[in-house]
Subunit: 230 residues, 2 copies
Amino acid sequence: MSALEDDRALLDRTSTAEKVADILRVRIIEGGFAPGTQLGERLIENALGVSRNTLREAFRLLTHEGLLVHQLNRGVFVRVPSVEDVADIYAVRRLVECAAVRRLGSDDDLGVELDRIAETLHAAERAEREEDWLDLGTANIRFHQEIVALSGSPRVDALMRRVLAELRLVFHVMADPQRFHEPYLSRNREIFDLIKSRDHRGAARELERYLDDAERELTEAYTAKRARTP
Amino acid sequence: MSALEDDRALLDRTSTAEKVADILRVRIIEGGFAPGTQLGERLIENALGVSRNTLREAFRLLTHEGLLVHQLNRGVFVRVPSVEDVADIYAVRRLVECAAVRRLGSDDDLGVELDRIAETLHAAERAEREEDWLDLGTANIRFHQEIVALSGSPRVDALMRRVLAELRLVFHVMADPQRFHEPYLSRNREIFDLIKSRDHRGAARELERYLDDAERELTEAYTAKRARTP
DNA sequence: GCATATTTGTCCGTATGTATA
DNA sequence: CTATACATACGGACAAATATG
């Protein structure tokens, strides 16, 4: 549990509960706690040096973000997304991401935003060269988060942050998440180029195909896994 | 504060913090605590007979639902939605509600769902006859919640529940919320009839007009109020 | 600007209730 | 059925920040 102790250095910003939640969130998203793991209060309380009350507040935050599930009088566990969750996650993605792209005005000035998205794509390509599949997955997902951010709605943004965090959990449940993201990188670039050339309709169409393919592949890998571990 | 004490009778279901949150949520949504009101810990702790820790957990829940805002070392306050919030709320509504209606399959069996929506419309008409404007507002909003529920996505459903709860706050900030909902009831019925006759495209178009009008009227009432109370 | 009172943030000890071996 | 482990909830403590005079 020494890795957790390293994180104590980060405890210096806002409210303690939020900070603890930040630490746990990163750890969960990166796979440090596998889906299904119970997060006992005693355990982490001692490791992070915070009280139970504070820790419970952090748990509440993450539970409402969908990363943890809370069972009354049993405790909190890292969520294990079901196949139905995968379907719903992609339903939301189709709804929100495609609408965000389609509704872009052709006269809006997206200079700064597009630069940031380009930078994310570069980060993804860098990760691919270095064969860092975790970073590649992170960058790929951030790409889609930034696509949605183009719509400029804080609430849609927050929804998407939640849904994409849950998607990270799905990846951890998958059989072989390592190379899953690689083929999608070039498709992200394709979508980006279409947006840049202001072909929003074409971008939305390509995005929809992207999501269809990803969902299908994910569902297959998922059910295959379930077949092996019942 | 005796009205709060009456609510103690309802304390009999899940976790205490959740129950407290339920009580406060209803009270906030129905206008018992006006936007901007501070919810002191001592005050409610004594009124509901729960400990401070539990109460703080309930506050966290409501803060993450967007009904309360938390200021560090100052406490929690009932949120005062800004004009920008109104715009964003309606952006989300346009995105989600119209898409939900438009994507309805013409072969789906919506019997049970449509019956429930019809019942909500009846409740609204009943409230109108009795001139109970609070109930009318509740029923009108529930109508839209149920429209979204037709899409069958738990995540979209949860998003909408949150956004519509925030909208209730907007109504409480408004100058004269009483009769605001009345003209929209007949338009809801119109939308419902279009859905029932499976003219989903027409329903979506009518819904979009509805939302445009509502947002405009709301924004005007809002800025008028702000002009009077700076 | 200063001193005081109030409120919040955090933590701890403990008693009770609940689930599981 | 008992025992154990754990979560839930409470009450009290103190430091830190804020509001008040």
